[in-house]
């Protein structure tokens, strides 16, 4: 085939491409989100207001920060169940090191930096166990979920740390240019991770690992190193989530972040990332996050009880995944 005929056939496919774009997981999800917004707006006139939506952004931040690296991990076919516990441990370490009546009394900035380091270490430990010892990610992080939470409880001795200086709350409660401060942070991380995943060697390698790890190894990709890196990154982001969370709720407790892993995984999977690895995107994860948060909020504003809300969210999750699967199957059958 010559290059000119190849180009022609590329052009002929532009109609097919438009169709392919409309059938993309992210686009389908986005349309579903629009429908949800429309229905929820009918339920309450407070729902579709800028104030409310921005405020929801605050509640979404911690989940978003761990859902981004979770997308990387799930694309490689792994999972990280320990993110909630790492967040709890990092929060406790932050408070414990800073605590003006505690044993260390470090400056707040140093305490924050140290807690982030602890987060990275926790993630590194996960990655090393998975890669060097060969324990499956599910088992490894299930074990460290208990381990890190236990450490957090041991250090805190069930005492909370409060009374942080006023400026510390700026991150969790303040605004910048009218938008909650932490949302800017989320935006930056979304852009960075989206670019890494879609444009770099590293991102491409993650997809290759998730689709065929052996094939990736035979192609010279340092599978072990990359795997360790994403779990360490997940630990770091859990630490950052802890920082934002402490700043937002103005206290440190050892049970912080309990169940965070499930919220993050739900958003990633709803966003179209295959739980078996190999496909997915940051855009999808972001839509998944927003959709879940809007449902929670919109239903609450419409007067649905908390238990009712959970039932509806569960149902929507299953429906969304079924619809998406159906459309993707149709799309690949046509191809």
């Amino acid at each position: 085939m010559t290059s000119s005929t190849l180009q022609q056939s590329d052009e002929m496919k532009s109609g097919v491409r438009l169709r392919a774009f409309l059938l993309r997981q992210e686009v389908v999800l986005f349309l579903m989100m629009m429908i949800a917004i429309f229905i929820l707006t009918l339920g309450s006139d407070k729902f579709l207001t800028l104030d409310n939506l921005l405020n929801q952004g605050r509640f979404l931040t911690e989940i978003a920060l761990v859902a981004l690296p979770m997308t990387f991990i799930i694309i490689t076919g792994g999972i990280d169940l320990s993110v909630g516990s790492i967040m709890g441990l990092c929060a406790i370490v932050l408070g414990y090191m800073w605590n003006p009546t505690g044993p260390f009394q470090w400056p707040l900035e140093l305490a924050v930096a140290f807690s982030l380091l602890v987060g990275v270490l926790c993630g590194l430990v996960n990655g090393l166990i998975i890669v060097r010892i060969g324990v499956p990610p599910l088992i490894t992080t299930l074990a460290t979920l208990a381990l890190y939470r236990g450490l957090a409880e041991g250090i805190s001795q069930a005492r909370s740390v409060r009374n942080y200086p006023e400026y510390f709350y700026e991150l969790g409660q303040g605004t910048l240019l009218g938008v909650p401060t932490q949302l800017w942070m989320v935006l930056v991380f979304v852009i960075i991770t989206a670019i890494i995943l879609s444009r770099t060697i590293f991102g491409r390698s993650l997809y290759a690992i998730g689709n065929n790890e052996l094939g990736a190894r035979f192609s010279g990709i340092p599978v072990g190193l990359y795997t360790i890196m994403i779990y360490a990154f997940s630990g770091l982001m859990s630490g950052i989530a802890a920082w934002v969370f402490v700043s937002r709720v103005t206290t440190t407790r050892s049970d912080m972040g309990t169940g965070l892993e499930l919220d993050a995984i739900a958003a990633v999977v709803l966003g179209g990332t295959s739980i078996f690895g190999g496909s997915g995107s940051i855009v999808g994860t972001v839509i998944g996050l927003v959709l879940i948060q809007l449902l929670k909020n919109g239903l609450a504003l419409s007067g649905v009880t908390t238990d009712g809300t959970i039932v509806v969210i569960g149902t929507v999750l299953i429906l969304a995944i079924l619809i998406n699967n159906y459309i993707q199957r149709r799309a690949s059958a046509v191809e």
Partner: protein, 513 residues
């Protein structure tokens, strides 16, 4: 003597290949009948037909004179046909007795319940093993904790527990130690005395001469002949196995052979790479022949850094190099087209563009960002250069034919601009047309000065393409032939001969040991 099993005019077609064409086979009670042939000659298909896994397209099967038809392995078992496959089919978490009586365990009644009768099971398992002169095996032990030899004995006992009249043994000694082999031979002789007919498949001709009464040879799915073992010789059997002419499928170009590019000295990587030394020169195609399991792929993967060498030297263009990962090998200019394109060579869910660039992402990116235009051009060039039949660079590789998939793998490694190209079974599972194209490409690459090491289980391919042929057996390079000296006879005999002393007077030239 009565004929226990008789197959006449058996044919079996699989999509794209004729696996068996008009094959005959017959066996008497109390006979050990060897089934011989190269890889892919149709032995496996034949035993699968006998054991009810496949149904023949044509032909009849008779047992004790009566025509029979097996719709599934259970029906064959019910008629007394038992198979011991290369990969043993036992349940490692269950006891010896449970495995022996799997599916037909002795039962007893407690009221309305029918439960397993453990005492009888253990007793009968012990009796069965004793009848094979096996007294050192605890029937209550889990099979997973047994040695390979003991597991095989359990398999044999299991076969006898269904009163097997015909026992098929597929490469039974492949994984056994010397002592276990001797015990297996004793058991085979014992079964023979009891009138069990045994179909014995082995690549080791010595064993055939030690055990078998008759030998039937298949070649390319066709029946070549049946010989009484006492009336034949190793050489005759070998020539029956390989006696086919090389067709002109191999457009080998004349090349000028230059300096050594890859040199390997005393390379060790146990268990399947033992003290290997050889060199490949610029423009040269070196064929690496050997049976499955002789260590050819292991050698290639050692040089490629997938399983780094334990000791020894790898020298590239005169400089000693260290290869610890495939990444090292790629950077140094060593490329490896792996044996299994589905699991090793490609990421099938990805498209042509992504596969073609996967091993060379570094060279088409700046600061770790993949340059998309360059990547697309790379894929377009690959499609043109290798005439890959695809509608666009974005086509998912999974939807291409086997031959086109293989071309994508080759293009992926050519993109890495290698100095040495190692190809492991480059035309396996590829149709005839694509095969010829790949052969032409290999030949062209060599004439451009690339050093090529080609592993192949297809003798005509090795003989037709190589300038020089190395033969591996049990992890060692045991023979080396020049293109002009090599023929099917001497290469095969180097592949399969057990001992260093060749049988008869036709010692193949160039055997090193």
């Amino acid at each position: 003597m009565t004929t226990t099993l008789e197959l006449t005019n058996i044919s079996k077609q699989f999509p794209g290949v004729k696996a068996l064409d008009d094959v005959h086979f017959e066996m008497n009670a109390g006979e050990v009948h060897a089934l011989l042939g190269e890889n892919g000659a149709g032995k496996s298909t034949l035993i699968k037909i006998i054991s009810g896994v496949h149904k023949p397209d044509r032909g009849t099967i008779r047992m004790s004179g009566q025509p029979v038809q097996f719709n599934n392995p259970r029906e064959a078992q019910a008629k007394g046909i038992a198979t011991i496959y290369q990969e043993l089919s036992l349940y490692p978490e269950l006891t010896v007795a449970e495995n022996i009586f799997m599916g037909h365990a002795p039962r007893r009644k407690i009221g309305p319940l029918s439960i397993m009768d453990w005492r009888t099971a253990f007793e009968r398992a012990r009796e069965l093993l004793a009848s094979l002169n096996i007294y050192d095996l605890d029937v209550r032990r889990k099979v997973g904790s047994l040695t390979v030899g003991n597991r095989q004995r359990v398999e044999i006992a299991k076969a006898l527990s269904i009163n097997a009249q015909v026992l098929i043994m597929d490469e039974p000694t492949a994984a056994l130690t010397e002592a276990d082999v001797l015990r297996l031979f004793e058991i085979v002789r014992l079964l023979k005395q009891r009138g069990v007919g045994i179909i014995y498949i082995s690549h080791r001709l010595q064993e055939v001469f030690e055990l078998a009464d008759r030998a039937t040879v298949l070649r390319d799915g066709q029946y070549v002949g049946t010989k009484l073992v006492k009336d034949t010789s190793e050489d005759e059997l070998i020539s029956m196995m390989v006696g086919r002419t090389i067709d002109n499928l191999f457009p080998k170009l004349d090349t000028t052979i230059g300096n050594p590019v890859l040199e390997v000295r005393n390379l060790w990587n146990k268990p399947l790479c033992r003290d290997v030394s050889f060199q490949v020169r610029a423009g040269e195609i070196v064929g690496l022949a050997g049976l499955v399991g002789s260590g050819r792929s292991e050698l290639a993967q050692t040089i490629f850094g997938f399983t780094p060498a334990q000791s020894g030297e790898i020298i590239l263009n005169g400089k000693p190099i260290r290869v610890r990962t495939p990444g090292d090998a790629i950077r140094l200019g060593i490329a490896y087209v792996p044996e299994d394109r589905g699991t090793q060579g490609l990421v099938k869910q990805m498209n042509i563009r992504e596969n073609a660039s996967l091993a060379v992402l570094r060279s088409i990116s700046r600061a770790s960002f993949i340059k998309r235009a360059e990547e697309r051009n790379l894929a377009k060039r690959a499609i043109e250069q290798l005439s890959i039949r695809a509608y666009s660079t974005e086509q998912v590789v999974n939807k291409l034919s086997g031959g086109n998939q293989q071309k994508v793998v080759v293009s992926k490694w050519l993109a890495s601009k290698p100095k040495v190209l190692i190809m492991d079974e480059p035309t396996r599972g590829v149709d005839v047309g694509a095969k010829a194209e790949i052969h032409r490409l290999i030949s062209e690459l060599a004439s451009q000065g690339l050093a090529i090491l080609m592993i192949s289980s297809e003798l005509p391919e090795v003989l037709g393409m190589s300038d020089r042929i190395l033969v591996m057996r049990e992890g060692r390079v045991v023979a080396e032939f020049d293109r002009k000296d090599a023929n099917q006879q001497n290469v095969v005999s180097a592949m399969i001969r057990e001992s260093s002393a060749p049988n008869g007077t036709t010692a193949p030239e160039g055997v090193l040991q």
